[in-house]
């Protein structure tokens, strides 16, 4: 016997609402700080290259995750090509978005790395994998040193 008695009237079953009322402030970290300041102030993209194996990381990091050697920063164009994309009709609460968002996995030129970001200025039916895209940044005075300083990537016209 697992329980000796159980509540039979469903109205007597209780549920208590709970909300996590915390918020978080995340530093970009050492490599992130270098990247986002460069993006904010100069509109330029930074990657990092492993001093031992030569793997070029994007997003940049201070260490090579494969051999744990140090890396050095290098400037890249910020352009890339679409490796995969998806069209999302709902937000994370499950509500329909007024306009679907296009997410893309973008291989970054001059690196072994990738970025996941939005695509803009294009309709889903016109997207092809392998398509070349370039970043569209916020105007300099509105940039804050965050990933959202990149508004989206757009196809090369």
């Amino acid at each position: 016997m697992v329980f000796n008695e159980k509540i039979t009237n469903p109205a007597e079953l209780r549920h208590v609402q709970g909300r996590i009322e915390l918020y978080w402030i995340y530093t970009s970290g050492e490599a992130g700080d270098v990247f986002f300041k460069k993006l904010r102030d100069e509109g330029k993209f930074t990657a990092s290259k492993c001093r031992k194996c030569g793997h070029v990381f994007f997003p940049p990091r201070i260490y090579c995750e494969f051999d744990f050697s140090e890396t050095e920063y290098m400037e890249i164009s910020g352009e890339g090509c679409v490796l995969a994309f998806s069209v999302i009709s709902y937000d994370s609460d499950g509500n329909r978005l007024e306009k679907p968002e296009i997410y893309a996995l973008i291989g970054m030129d001059g690196t072994d790395g990738k970025i996941i970001h939005l695509l803009g200025e294009i309709e889903p039916e016109n997207i092809e994998t392998g398509m070349k895209v370039v970043p569209v940044l916020k105007p300099k005075d509105q940039r804050e040193g965050k990933i959202t300083d990149i508004l989206y990537f757009k196809p090369v016209s």
């Binding site: 995750e65 998806s86 999302i88 499950g94 997410y103 996941i116």
Partner: protein
């Protein structure tokens, strides 16, 4: 060599929701059944308790506080692994092999119906600096991207994934604990709305509640408790990376975990030696990835085999004969538990109307979005 066996298994049933029982009560129910099955008194006999849970699935900051009581683990060596049940199982094996325990208990549960903002919790696992702030879309976009990338690489078309859905949802009809089982065809799947294009709603496992408890024992004790226990021949687990830029998107984590488990179990030719498999299918394309990773089929050949019924209930290697997560539901950290449970039931011959003939079975799980981490366990009778 110290061998480890499953001598008891208990579960609470799997349901889309469970408004009448708290997570403690669900777990207690599963534990009582497991201890009865093993024929042990937990307060006297167990040496260690392993629980598997993640704080934000539960709504806590330190959830492991709430684990010992319902498992009979009060003032015993009890701890939490923040991972799936199969990772807990690996720890149970290590505890016994290292001599820290002779009888160990592994538990995992899901109270997914308590989560009101599932999408937000999943998104909260995404890299806070590089990924989480991008867009407002549902975090399933990452699975959609992976599906798209992987399909292009292998040349699989959507029909293959739709067949996986149809197979699993139909299999579930013979499983009394499969709340999402249904009589569906691949065409039904293909005609459902692509909410997360190219991912369709019917390709995604809905959530379920439930708890599973296993009792593991060292070889000689296992035989005393049960003349024919189910042996754990191998366990393996692996993580690719936490970064989307270095992920393979081809389930290399599952391949490496399987290699580790097969190595331990002495399995050289999985496609020949394995009789039944339960793999993670919380997105339909994941089943295809995982079949390849477990080396049950060659890369790029799963579509033809699926079509021929090779992975069906009566096929050569039945995969997800329980109905998989597509039928049973996404049990969060208990997903691997449902898969291991199915294998144990099949090997014991207790799988009822869905019984297949099997001597060696494998269970595999992935740690869900946004990870590239997974675990594999090989069982035999």
């Amino acid at each position: 060599m110290v061998r480890v066996a499953v001598v008891g298994a208990g579960y609470s049933g799997f349901n889309a929701n469970s408004p009448d029982l708290s997570w403690k009560e669900i777990t207690y129910e599963a534990a009582v059944r497991a201890y009865e099955d093993a024929g042990i008194n937990p307060r006297r006999d167990i040496d260690a308790v392993v629980t598997c849970a993640e704080d934000f699935w539960e709504g806590f900051a330190i959830f492991d506080e709430f684990c010992p009581d319902q498992l009979g683990g009060v003032l015993k060596p009890t701890f939490t692994v923040t991972a799936d049940f199969l990772f807990g199982l690996a720890n149970g094996v290590m505890l016994i092999k290292s001599g820290l325990a002779e009888i160990a208990v592994v538990e995992a549960h899901s109270k997914a119906s308590d989560i009101l903002t599932f999408g937000n919790v999943v998104k909260f696992a995404y890299d806070p600096v590089w990924l989480r702030p991008v867009g407002r879309g549902h975090p399933f976009y990452l699975a959609a991207l992976e599906k798209s990338y992987y399909s292009n690489l292998r040349g699989y078309c959507d029909y293959t994934y739709a067949e996986v859905v149809a197979k699993n949802r139909k299999n579930g009809r013979l499983n009394p604990d499969a709340p999402y089982s249904a009589d569906l065809t691949a065409d039904d799947v293909l005609s459902s709305e692509p909410l997360f294009y190219p991912l369709r709603k019917l390709e995604i496992a809905e959530r379920s509640d439930g708890a599973v408890v296993f009792v593991l024992a060292k070889g000689d004790i296992a035989r005393e408790l049960n003349p024919e226990p189910v042996w754990i021949d191998g366990v393996g687990w692996n993580s690719e990376t936490s970064n989307y830029d270095t992920m393979s998107f081809t389930a290399v984590y599952a391949m490496k975990a399987a290699e580790m488990a097969y190595d331990m179990a002495g399995i050289e030719n999985p496609a020949k030696e394995i009789d039944v498999a339960e793999v993670d299918d919380r997105f339909a394309y994941k089943e295809v990835q995982h079949i390849e990773a477990l080396k049950l089929a060659k890369a790029g050949e799963v579509d033809e085999l699926l079509e021929s019924g090779y992975f069906g209930r009566k096929g050569e290697i039945p995969v997800n004969v329980s109905g998989g997560s597509l039928s049973v539901g996404n049990l969060l950290e208990a997903t691997g538990a449902q898969k291991a449970l199915e294998i144990v039931l099949q090997l014991r011959g207790e799988a009822g109307r869905r019984q297949v003939d099997a001597e060696i079975g494998v269970a595999q799980v992935w740690r869900y979005l946004p990870t590239a981490t997974g675990a594999v366990a090989v069982f035999s009778r």
